[in-house]
C-alpha cells in the first residue's frame, strides 16, 4: 500500500510541475517542435542533467533501484520514429497526457484513449514483433559509465553534451515574443 501512496504523491508533484512549465499545453509543445518555443526542450535537457547528478549521488550512497533499458538498434530506432510522429501530431507524451487530461483538455483525453488503443494493439502483437524487431539487434543494457571510467567522466561528458544542447536550442529556436 505504501508503494501506491508513494506513486500517487510522486505523480501529483510531477503532474503539477509539468503543468507549470507548460508541457501539458499542446500549443506550447507544437511551438517547441516548430523551433519557436525554447523553454520546454531546454527544461527537459536541464532536468536530465540534474537528475543524472542526483542518480550518481544515489549510487554513491547505495540508495535506490536502477534499471537502464536495453538498446535494440532496430526496434528502439523504429519505435522512436513512430513515437516522434505521434508526438508531433498530438503534442502530448504518455506522461503529459494524464496531467493535461486532469486539467480538462479534451484533446488530451483523446490522446489518452488513443494511447490505450495503441498499447492494446502492441501488447496483442508482442509475441510477433519483439522477436522480429527487438531481439535480433538488442545490444544489451549498455551505459556510458560502463565504458568510460571512472564513471564521473561519463557524468561530466553527459553534462557537457546536454549543456551544449541547451545553448544550441537558445541560439537556434527563435523565441516568439508574443507567447503568453
Amino acid at each position: 500500500m505504501d508503494k501506491v501512496l508513494l506513486g500517487l504523491l510522486s505523480g501529483i508533484a510531477f503532474g503539477f510541475i509539468i503543468q507549470r512549465i507548460g508541457a501539458t499545453n499542446a500549443d506550447k509543445m507544437a511551438k517547441a517542435h516548430l523551433m519557436i518555443e525554447p523553454q520546454i526542450p531546454q527544461f527537459m535537457l536541464l532536468t536530465v542533467i540534474l537528475s543524472a547528478i542526483g542518480v550518481f549521488g544515489l549510487k554513491l550512497a547505495g540508495v535506490g533501484r536502477f534499471l537502464p533499458l536495453p538498446t535494440s538498434i532496430l526496434a528502439t530506432g523504429v519505435a522512436a520514429v513512430i513515437f516522434g510522429i505521434g508526438w508531433g501530431l498530438t503534442g502530448y507524451c504518455p506522461g503529459t497526457c494524464w496531467a493535461a487530461a486532469g486539467e480538462g483538455r479534451g484533446d488530451a483525453i483523446a490522446t489518452l484513449v488513443g494511447g490505450l488503443a495503441g498499447t492494446a494493439v502492441f501488447a496483442h502483437f508482442h509475441e510477433t514483433l519483439v522477436p522480429l524487431l527487438y531481439a535480433p539487434t538488442n545490444i544489451g543494457q549498455i551505459t556510458l559509465d560502463a565504458w568510460l571510467k571512472p564513471p564521473v567522466f561519463a557524468l561530466i561528458l553527459l553534462a557537457i553534451v546536454f549543456s551544449g544542447g541547451i545553448m544550441a536550442i537558445g541560439k537556434i529556436w527563435k523565441k516568439d515574443e508574443s507567447l503568453p
Binding site: S51, T71, T76, W87, G88, W98, A117, P180
Partner: protein, 169 residues
Amino acid sequence: MMHENKSPYWNLYPAAAALAGVIVFIFATFGPPASSSGFVSTLKGFFQAVLPDYVAAKEHYQLIPGPGSWLMAFVLGMAIGGFIAGRSFPIPVRDVPEIWERKFGPSRFRRYATAFLGGFLILFGSRMAGGCTLGLFISGSAQMAVSGLYFGALIFVAAIFTAKFIYGK
C-alpha cells in the same frame, strides 16, 4: 528575476530543479520513473475483469504489474496534479490548441481524431522501445543509458519534421 515577464509559467531553472528532485526521489523510493507502463497497468486491470484468460496468455501483460501498482498510482497522481495545477492557473484550458485552430479551424472532431492517432502512435512506439519520454529518454539518460540517449535524439527529430509538415511555415 524581476524583469517585465508577466508569464504565469515558471522559469525553467527552478522548474527543472523541482522536477529533477521528484525524479531522484522516485529513483530512491521506487526505481526508474515511467509513464507508458501505466497504460499497460490500466489495460491489464480492465482485461483481467473482462478477458482474464487473454491477459494470462499475453506476455506483455505479464511483464507489467496490474492496478494497485506504483505505476498506475503514478499516472493517476499525474492526472490529480494536473487538475490541481490547472485549477490554480490564470490561463484557461482549451480543447483545441490555438495553433491548431488557426490552421485547421475550431472543429473538435478533427483535432480529437488527430490527437487519438497521435496517442496511438506514441504508446505503440513506447511499448516497442520499452519506455516513453520519461521512462526511456529522461530515466534512461539520467542513468547514462545509451537506449535513452538514442531514443531521445530520434523522437525530437521525428517530432520536429512532423510538426513542420502539419503546421507548415
